[in-house]
Symmetry: C2
Subunit: 326 residues, 2 copies
């Protein structure tokens, strides 16, 4: 059993030794670029954790871990085009550094490369791995489409929002763990429990993201604080505030004025909406919602019959995701 | 053994019975739309032919045939965004009918669906099928990137051009046949021969496309005649004309004037460049180049030990592609 830091180091080592073709360079440079930008490497680490949870051979998890990270980065490249995002991890996005066409095409190549990495696995488990991988991939596409739809949907319920983040974000954490579990030789039932654990932790993780956007310590947070507020992003916080403001005409009007303002001072908007959140106790409500999914996740782990130490390690990893400040 | 028409009917029957999810509809409607637009269904037919060539069970070729057609249509959806093409088979392209983001994302979902279809195959041949499929897919991406690069490259050699169309177009015909061959139980050697046959027929096919753009019977041709000329597309015909015009100052100047003209009458340009082609005997030279790849393909077939009737059938299919008028 390794620590999370050790797993992250292993991911970096494997990724830095990996090259993805060279010719034509316009196709492959963006892949090498985005894959070298770093990040928490959460998903490949989860592949390792899932594998080790059942005492599997970590060597067999290396290529699938790369596959999962390639897939995740493919979604980032394409999502950034759709969102017209200029920056990713404080560096220019692929479509900014090159152009939209190159970003579309190198993204396409990345998903094929991801399948190629996954297909290096033993044929005895390959169909299962492919099933989880494709099923997860298609759900991530569905989640991204829902996210785009909700940008222009007037009324989005919290149930719809949670379903969207489940598809867009949470299932990939579940899928990464399940792929690891299959490599580790888990029973179908245990692999499913670990998938559901990952999915629920993923929901909690995204809710934590929503909270951090508003309440992170600005000195530690790597992104623009209040970015979601400025962009009217329908996060749990905003949707809950809209719901609660229904009963308070003054607050409802102020909230909708800010949401619908064609021009505004960004800092002023962030402050005003944060004040509304504070008044409505939104941070605590979001934290409780996050805790709900966290608790479901933890309960799922308890059902799996593995060494207690493994469970404690996984839970402390989940805790570190919940307590993170960036 | 079936006729080509029967194979095409089988493809249409299988495709029309197939649905690709429904929710969110913005993700799946474009997939159902593009897959229903028809076309020659050349690639899935080649999967059937490859399978039948070795007396394989056509039922086992159904899902891989869908996979190949899904992949081909995925490339069309993304290529059409990159080319800003308004029409595909006389209907609005996906990004025109919906928007760029939906076209990117539904294309992404299509490649995942393609893998899902392929993965329904027997595990005994799955790794081989996946290897051919991914290898082909990555080459198609490389070919599309080269095609984009060549749009802004001043000098493109005919060797470079042929390599580009090999990657962008020809390998997928080879890959479709090889996937069929593997399902049919071909030896590795025979499957490779059939792949190379398909690749060379693919090259001949694309050269025929280049010729038809200029010399098709306008009453039968479904596209704008001379479209490649108007767009300065670096086809075999144009590259050969540029090469041959080197030795004729007057012709070289006239050719480059038309190529570099910022404004022009389309019909006039098509007529002028066609006249240059005629003077330089480009049509015949292109036909000879096409014949070269056709002959290589036919010779490859002769090496495979299967029933003579199968060979005759495959060759007559190749002939129909060469003699086509659209």
């Amino acid at each position: 059993m390794n620590t999370i830091i050790e797993y992250q180091q292993l991911v970096e080592k494997v990724l830095s030794a990996k090259k993805y073709g060279s010719n034509p360079k316009e196709l492959y440079e963006p892949i090498n670029y985005i894959m070298s930008l770093g990040g928490k490497r959460l998903r490949p680490v989860l592949v390792f954790i899932g594998c080790d949870f059942f005492n599997g051979d970590l060597d067999k998890a290396l290529n699938p871990a790369i596959a999962i990270e390639l897939f995740h980065n493919f979604t980032l490249v394409h999502d950034d085009i759709m969102d017209k995002a200029p920056l990713r991890r404080n560096k220019p996005t692929v479509h900014e550094k090159w152009n939209d066409n190159i970003a579309i095409l190198s993204g396409d190549a990345m998903i094929v490369c991801a399948y190629q990495e996954l297909c290096k696995s033993d044929v005895s488990i390959l169909p299962k791995l492919l099933e989880v991988f494709s099923d997860t991939a298609i759900k991530v596409c569905e989640g991204q489409q829902l996210d785009m739809n909700y940008e222009t949907t007037q009324k989005v319920s919290i149930i719809q929002y949670v379903k969207m983040i489940e598809l867009k974000t949470a299932v990939l954490l579940g899928g990464a763990l399940k792929i690891g579990a299959i490599i580790g030789g888990a029973s179908d039932g245990d692999a499913k429990q670990l998938y559901d654990f990952g999915k629920n932790i993923g929901l909690a993780f995204q809710l934590q993201d929503d909270i951090l956007d508003v309440y992170a310590d600005a000195t530690k947070f790597g992104k623009q604080k209040g970015g979601d507020i400025i962009a009217n992003k329908k996060t749990y916080l905003l949707l809950k505030a809209i719901e609660l403001a229904e009963g308070n005409r003054y607050m409802k009007e102020e909230l909708h004025q800010w949401i619908n303002a064609p021009q505004f001072d960004a800092a002023e908007k962030v402050e005003a909406i944060t004040n509304i959140y504070n008044f409505l106790n939104i941070r605590e409500l979001a934290r409780m919602e996050m805790k709900k999914y966290y608790d479901i996740a933890i309960a799922l782990i308890e059902n799996i019959k593995v060494d207690e130490m493994k469970k404690r390690n996984l839970i402390s990893f989940a805790d570190s995701l919940m307590l993170r400040e960036v």
